[in-house]
Symmetry: C2
Subunit: 234 residues, 2 copies
Amino acid sequence: MATQGTLFGVGVGPGDPKLMTIKAGEVIRTADILAYPVNSAGESQARSIAYPIFEDSSTELPLHIPMNVERDPAREAYDSAANQISTFLMTGKDVAYLCIGDPMFYGSFMYLAARLGVSHKVEVIPGVTSLSACAAQTRMPLAGRTDVLSVIPATLDEPELESALKHTDTAVVIKVGRHMKKVRDTLRKLGLSDSAIVVENGSGAGERITLVEQVTDDTKPYFSTILVSRRDVT
Amino acid sequence: MATQGTLFGVGVGPGDPKLMTIKAGEVIRTADILAYPVNSAGESQARSIAYPIFEDSSTELPLHIPMNVERDPAREAYDSAANQISTFLMTGKDVAYLCIGDPMFYGSFMYLAARLGVSHKVEVIPGVTSLSACAAQTRMPLAGRTDVLSVIPATLDEPELESALKHTDTAVVIKVGRHMKKVRDTLRKLGLSDSAIVVENGSGAGERITLVEQVTDDTKPYFSTILVSRRDVT
C-alpha cells in the first residue's frame, strides 16, 4: 500500500498576504493540492490571500462550503468536501486546505478535520486571526493583565448577546453583517457604545474603521468586527 | 528637524520561528534597533524566537520589563523603557519591539504604545497567539458557529474564574503557572475537567500536552494554557 498523504489546515491570516506565516508559505508552495472553500458565486477569499505565492505546478481544488447556513446542508457539503479530499490523500497526495485567519477559530477546517482525522494524517498551521489584525489596525488592545476577553458572534439572540457582553471585561463581536443594528442597540443599552469601533475587512482590501456611534447603516459586510473595551491603558 | 523613526510592535508568534509572519520577518531585518523585554535573569523569549533571522548589523536594546507584578513598579519600568526607545526614535531610528504572540493580546507593547503613541509614529504587526498554536497542536477547535469563546487569566480569584467559565461556551485559561490547582478544582466543580487539556509552551521548545485529569502537579510553567470546550464537532 502506498503511503497516504497529509491534510494540512493552513491559516492564511486576515487578509494582507504578508501576514501569512513562513510555515504557511512553505506548505502552500510544496503541497500537491491546494484546496479552499468557495461561496455560491465561486469566490474564495482564502485563495485571494494566498494566490501571490501559488506555484504554477499546483493543482487547485475549490470546494463549495456554504457559510451561515443551518446544520443539515452544511453537513452534506462537508461530507462531500471530505470525500473529495480523501480521494487525493489515498493516492499519497498532500492536500493544503486554505483557511482565512486561523483554522481552529470559527473556520470550516475543523469540520473537515473531524471527518478526516480518524483515517488520515492531519496537521494544523495556525494563523493570525482577524481579532489581532483589527486590534493592530485600530491600535486598540484586545486585553491585558487580568482581563477576561470574550469573542462573541453577532448572530446570537439579543438576550444572549447582552449576557455575554455583561460577563466580560473586553469583547470582540464577530460576523457583524446584518446584525449591526442589534449589536449597536445592545452596546448602547449597556453604556458600551461610545468607545466601540467597527472594523470592516481588517488588514485586507477595503479596510474601513469607524466608531460605532458614527455608523448609520443597519448592515455591514459579514467580515466586520466590533472591538469593545472597558480598559484604561496606562 | 530630522524625520523621526517609527516604533513597530512586532508579534513574533507563539514559539516556532516559522510561525512568524512574512511581514514580521521584513520589519525585524530592516529595523535599526531590535528591542525586546528581558526578565530579571536577563532572558528574553521573544528574542529567542526571532534570533534566527537577526542581521549582524542589528543593534539590540534589551529592556527590563517585570512580569506579573503590581502596578507601580511595572509603571516605572514602562516609563523607563519608553524613554530609552524614544531616544532612538528622536534621532530617526526605526525601533522594532519584539512581542511573544501578538502585540495587542496580553502583552507589554500596549503599555509602551500608550506612552509613545502620542508623539511618535507607531505601527503594529499582528502575530499568531498561543491560543491558535495550542489549538493547532491539540487539534482541539477554539470555537465555531455561535459559540462564545472566552480567554480567562488563571490569576483571577476563584469566584471570578468560576463566573467567567460559567458564562461562555468554550474557554482558554491562560497564564496557568502556580494557579494550576485552583483552575483544576474550578473545572471539576463545573463538570468541565474531563475534556480539558493543558498545553505547556505550545509550539515552542518543551511543548507538552496533558489531560487536566492526568496532571498531578499543582504548578505548571507560566506559559501554560488550558483548553476547555463543550463543543461537539460533527
